[in-house]
Symmetry: C5
Subunit: 169 residues, 5 copies
């Protein structure tokens, strides 16, 4: 019995016509890079074309929601509006309370961003208590104990855009 796990996709999705944005923080760069690459790989495997994947970075997680908002604006201004955006950051608990306040504000800002931009925002923020936890979720810990969570975000992006994106119905 597998209680955990997202289970099978409910149907096959084809990302061939989708435009996907990725905005990622640069703090904890090695982890971020693995996560973003995981997302890209999954997007490609679901048919999203390379020319339709737009990637931009911001310094830290606090900048991710506004960066996501503005990348959406920019692509709209260019006549190439996004169908979905993946917002990626990695927060690791430190000795001050910075982690807690940033994590909470960023999560809620990404949640609320959706109604403002009217496209799905995929939550790619790791909120970990140690570097080891973050590396495991990026698929780059020594023992490879977990899969690369970026792949989940890529799959969620295609599904959400196809099912509930601006051109879904």
């Amino acid at each position: 019995m597998a209680v955990k796990g997202v289970g099978e996709l409910d149907r096959q999705y084809n990302g061939a016509d989708l435009r996907v944005g990725i905005v990622h923080a640069r703090w904890n760069a090695q982890i971020i890079e693995a996560l973003v690459n995981g997302s890209i790989k999954k997007l490609q495997s679901m048919g999203v074309q390379d020319k339709n994947i737009v990637i931009e970075s911001v310094p830290g997680s606090f900048e991710v929601p506004w960066g996501s908002k503005r990348l959406i604006d920019r692509q709209k201004a260019r006549g190439e509006p996004l169908d979905v955006i993946i917002s990626v950051g990695t927060l690791i608990k430190g000795s001050t309370m910075h982690f807690e306040y940033i994590a909470d504000a960023t999560t809620k800002a990404l949640m609320n961003l959706q109604e403002k931009v009217d496209i799905p925002v995929i939550f790619g923020l790791l909120t970990c208590l140690s570097e080891e936890q973050a590396m495991a979720r990026a698929g780059i810990d020594p023992g490879h104990t977990m899969h690369n969570h970026g792949e989940d975000w890529g799959a969620a992006a295609v599904e959400m855009a196809a099912k509930f994106g601006p051109n879904a119905f």
Copy 2:
């Protein structure tokens, strides 16, 4: 003396004319399936017609509020507007802080969704500290120690739609 428990319904409700949406996450699939089935069973027992129960899934709990919003949009676009939506997810505490941030943001997004869509949103999010807790609340733990909470959500959906839904007065 029974302090706990929702007590009797305050009156009989007839769901025969109601359209009910269900958006559920797919993480923790077995638990979700039991909860959704519990909701459906209760809706049917209160007169909701099968053709008026619209179900859609999203990957995880973070996607549930936006998915709920868009299912409401979609059904409106189809000329079959929902009277109420049940938003279902199951979050289980893990080793990072993912549970805490997602649970809080999702709960508030579902609460706030109501004023944007102007229909009641029934809170079907389990926020459990263990799989055992979640299974018990879905009515599928070995000892069947609790009832299926999905049934409560089905009953709440019919009541809230009949009492405070878009066509209630």
Copy 3:
């Protein structure tokens, strides 16, 4: 020296012209009933007429903010707009995190409701760590150790409606 306690009312209030709504959850029904009755008794003692007290219930605390919003809508549609609403629920800590997320989201939703409906919303949500605490605050614990908090809410409703309600100035 009595540091705690709301102290004396700052002036006498007459509720004879006020319309007061009460929306209450039904979970923890015995406690809720005592609280609502406490509010009603206080409203009456301050001159509010029985015909001007409108009561409606919802299943649980999560439903209280939206139910409050819609009772206000309904009474406006009926040409009998409310001057103030008392929103009542009782949450008791259980073994999952349900209590924490519902309590926080409901408190903030009731706070924020005020600017949307432009009438005062009286906070009648008990957020207790045990049934004993809740019973004490409803004035129904065996030792009658505390007064019925519903009375405070009734008094606050008349004061806030008279001082800051839609017809106060």
Copy 4:
């Protein structure tokens, strides 16, 4: 080296032309009275005229944000619009979770009120773990271990109104 402390005012302020509102809760009345008096004294010392200090009370801290909003509305309706408001309450940790939920919701409501009313809102909410802590911050503990924080709020009100109030530029 004095790391803590607000330091010197960055310049001299003259409150002679400012209208200042004070809305305070009445719970913990002795503490509140000292705090409000501290604010008034400071306002006077910075040139605010007595006729331009408008004071109103509400029952508890939850009522402070809406009361503040409505006092601003009222003074505008009277043709005597406020330049700034000081919102005062004292919350002391009790045995239930009431303190935590009220404190958080009230703090955020006061923060957010500013953009709705377009004048500065001075945060005069004490969130203390004991009566002793609250009395100390009101300058009325036996040992007079701290200064009256209401004075800080009075000074902040004049500064913020002069610098960033509705008539500041």
Copy 5:
């Protein structure tokens, strides 16, 4: 392997045409001064002209979001609109719960401010559990154990303005 650290800037930025606002609290003045100076130094090193750096102070961190909003308003009214603002405060845990409620409300207000003013807001709020932590992050602890975080904020300001500011595309 350097898991932590913002890594290299993704490209070179030229701040020569940018207008940058800084709003800072005055509590914990020595720390604040170091942080603000760190930001200014970095801004200058990235080409921002001194005449285009506008600095204003407020009493405490709670005043920072509204102060930031109004400095943006003021500079717009003067025909010298800001491209980005750095919002600086230092909160240090004390014996009451003041730190927690202010930190959370201020963080979220700064996050949400961005969509209202449509320029990036750089998060310069330290939320520390001790003075030592704050001094280290301002680069002024005895051992100089950390770099001055104000420099990061200066760099983030130029990058965010150039990449996602009002004149970026």
